[in-house]
């Protein structure tokens, strides 16, 4: 605690030029690199990787869009260009395992890149953290934020799209906080409203914004913290809390941030 340790995030190009092929590629993602709020999540997750002494590296300026949003907005041509370029880079660095905090990148790497010849073991950060907890190498401080109540919002592309409901909940439970569920949870969860390209455009005309509907549901649980695990969800829920004037009463954190905070990293 006394000495601050400086973290140099290792670059894939540097490591490989030294003849070392890292075990994991940490895919930061466009939001993780550019969105001010989600940069904090990338930083928190990297701290955890350092803390666990994981052999990883990032692509840095060689990283580009995964193509997920292009594909989901119908631009298959652009998606395939991005995918084939990314696969080319992954193969150059002999990438075998990809870690990411973005369920959308996770989904497209895991389920869609194989069609174009890219086969990798893809791990969402919540799955990675759960794995480390199971192995005994990661123990969150259970007295962290004692007495606070927590609710988890399922990202569509981790939950419904890939059936991962357990890992994020197990990681959260290791924090020792009381965890509640929203009425619509797991496979019944309501989308935050940002998927399918909605993040980047005005919503169509309606009675209400989807992110408000979901934020209201989260507020109704009486939780002090909304935990999320997706950059889009984070933007939407944070906006929702602001809109409802709840941003000083309820905080929205990514699971990686909560773990890093509990470890006082």
């Amino acid at each position: 605690m006394e000495n601050k340790l400086r973290i140099e995030v290792p670059l894939m190009a540097d490591r490989v030029s030294q003849g070392k092929f890292p075990e994991y590629l940490f895919w930061v993602g466009s939001a993780g690199a550019f969105d001010d709020r989600y940069k904090q999540v990338s930083r928190a997750f990297v701290k955890i990787l350092q803390y666990l002494e994981i052999d990883y590296a990032v692509l840095g300026t060689e990283e580009s869009s995964s193509g997920d949003v292009a594909r989901r907005t119908g631009n298959e041509m652009l998606f395939q260009m991005q995918a084939l370029m990314n696969i080319d880079i992954f193969n150059t660095y002999e990438v075998k395992k990809i870690l990411t905090c973005d369920p959308h990148a996770y989904n497209t790497f895991k389920n869609e890149y194989p069609d174009l010849g890219g086969n990798y073991e893809v791990i969402h950060h919540t799955q990675f953290l759960y794995d480390q907890i199971k192995k005994g190498s990661l123990k969150a401080n259970p007295s962290f934020l004692n007495g606070k109540k927590l609710v988890y919002h399922d990202p569509c592309y981790l939950g419904r799209a890939n059936g991962e409901y357990k890992a994020p909940r197990k990681v959260l439970d290791s924090l020792g906080m009381k965890r509640v569920e929203m009425p619509r949870n797991k496979s019944f969860a309501l989308c935050c409203g940002a998927g399918g390209g909605q993040m980047f455009k005005e919503a169509e005309k309606g009675d209400k914004e989807i992110f408000i509907e979901r934020t209201e549901e989260a507020i109704s649980t009486g939780a002090d913290i909304i935990a999320s695990a997706c950059p889009y969800c984070m933007v939407m829920l944070t906006d929702g809390l602001k809109y409802k004037n709840y941003d000083d009463k309820i905080k929205n954190y990514d699971i990686a941030e909560l773990i890093a905070m509990s470890l006082d990293l």
Binding site: F34, T73, G74, Q80, L84, E213
Partner: protein, 439 residues
């Protein structure tokens, strides 16, 4: 003998009409785009799970159990209906009795199910007519949709009534003649008591009336279904068999584009690959002949239950998108355009299309691709794939995506991110990063 002849004539009529329907249907499927069917083993498994065991209907447990019991009852009673066909054609009675103990179980459970199903049908009709259930309404639910539901329910009710009637009078007749009867009838043996005072002639007549009413209703029902939303009864089980096996988050890769993109990224291969000239197919879906046969199958097996729409975040928040409507639109558009396409071929045009005349761009762009609709669908309909296909048409054929999306496309092309940040700044997030301790 006369009974046999009348039966065979009505059966032939039924089959004739059905064959006509089937022929038209095959012609319509021929208009759609091909899609390969692989993994038969996995498909059988998913059919067992989702169709036969009805796993997804239980996401709404109470009404789900009622539907599942109706479905399982229908399967049992179907065996009895096949027996009636054999009996009718060959002038026999209870020709399946050779099945022994199994026969008794089938007949007994069919007898119980007939009563149960009548109860459920009344509950279903009550829900539809007197309770305000949100998912049964919506802009796409026109008067006909409601009538169609009620007609089918009424027919099923009548079928179950005549089945019990048939069984009850069969028991009475056996009693009158003092001979043994085949099968076990836990419900009808009590119903039959109500009619025990009738004359032998009236009892015989009662049996005949119920027998004929039952089988003729089946004949009419079978030919009504293909024109109703209850085509579901025939198509939902095969629909589940053909449904998507991949993780719900996976979108199909357009292989025709892969070739093009590889050429763009690697121009040297251009000469090697240029020998197989293909007819350029339209990208995505503009009209009904662009949909895959599977999407058309989905549209036919949809029974408009509305679970998809009730779970859709866009619909919940008042947007003009209803996944159920998309399925109904595909079916309606096919009915409208198919005759012309069949007659005049691919070039036929009625100056209308699925997009815009049926499904607006507003609907297509309101979707968050959250997959809640597909998750909810009890028969595994894949609504998101149709939405993606329509978006592909709008983006790649017309470049008519909303302006904000066009700018993220150019950002991704130019700087590799949907936002306008330079790729050179991709490591800025890691600047001045420090931590407290390393264990």
């Amino acid at each position: 003998m006369i009974k046999q002849i009348v039966f065979i004539i009505s059966l032939l009529l039924t089959l004739g009409v059905f064959a006509f329907t089937l022929r038209n249907l095959i012609l319509k499927f021929k208009l759609t785009r091909p899609k390969p069917v692989r993994n038969i083993g996995k498909r059988l498994l998913i059919t067992l799970k989702v169709a036969l065991l009805q796993t997804k209907i239980f996401r709404k447990p109470i009404i789900g159990l009622m539907h599942a019991l109706v479905f399982w009852g229908f399967l049992v009673i179907l065996i009895g209906s096949v027996e009636m066909l054999v009996d009718g054609i060959f002038g026999l009675e209870h020709s399946f009795r050779f099945l022994g103990k199994f026969y008794d179980v089938i007949i007994a459970s069919g007898d119980v199910f007939a009563l149960l199903i009548r109860g459920f049908i009344i509950a279903f009709l009550f829900r539809r007519i007197f309770m305000h259930i949100k998912r049964f309404s919506g802009t796409e639910m026109k008067k006909w949709s409601h009538q169609d539901a009620n007609i089918a329910l009424a027919m099923i009710f009548f079928l179950m009534m005549t089945l019990t009637g048939m069984n009850s009078f069969y028991l009475l007749e056996a009693g009158v003649h003092g001979h043994e009867y085949t099968g076990v009838f836990p419900v009808s043996k009590y119903i039959s008591v109500l009619f025990s005072g009738l004359s032998p002639r009236a009892i015989h007549l009662g049996y005949e009336i119920n027998w004929w009413a039952h089988i003729l209703t089946i004949f009419v029902f079978a030919n009504y279904l293909p024109y109703s939303k209850h085509f579901h009864v025939f198509l939902s089980v095969p629909g589940v068999f053909f449904s998507k096996l991949e993780p719900p988050g996976k979108i199909d890769t357009m292989e025709s584009i892969t070739k093009e993109v590889k050429l763009m990224l690697n121009p040297e291969t251009a000469f090697a690959a240029s020998d197989d000239e293909e007819v350029a197919e339209r990208f995505g879906v503009l009209d009904v002949e662009d949909v895959s046969w599977m999407s058309y199958f989905d549209a036919l097996s949809c029974t408009q239950c509305g679970r998809c729409t009730a779970a859709c975040p866009a619909n919940i928040t008042g947007k003009n998108l209803s996944p159920r409507k998309l399925m109904m639109d595909v079916r309606a558009r096919m009915n409208e355009k198919a005759p012309g396409l069949i007659k005049d071929g691919q070039d036929y045009s009625d100056n209308k299309s699925l997009i815009r005349d049926y499904i607006s761009e507003e609907e297509i762009w309101a979707c968050t691709l959250c997959n809640a609709c597909a998750q909810e669908c009890p028969v595994n309909i894949d609504q998101p794939s149709l939405i993606i296909q329509m978006r592909r048409f709008l983006v790649m054929e017309e470049s008519s995506a909303p302006a904000e999306l066009n700018s993220i496309f150019s950002n991704i092309e130019n700087n590799g991110a949907p936002w306008q940040f330079s790729q050179e700044d991709r490591m800025n997030w890691a600047e001045d990063l420090t931590m407290n301790s390393l264990k």
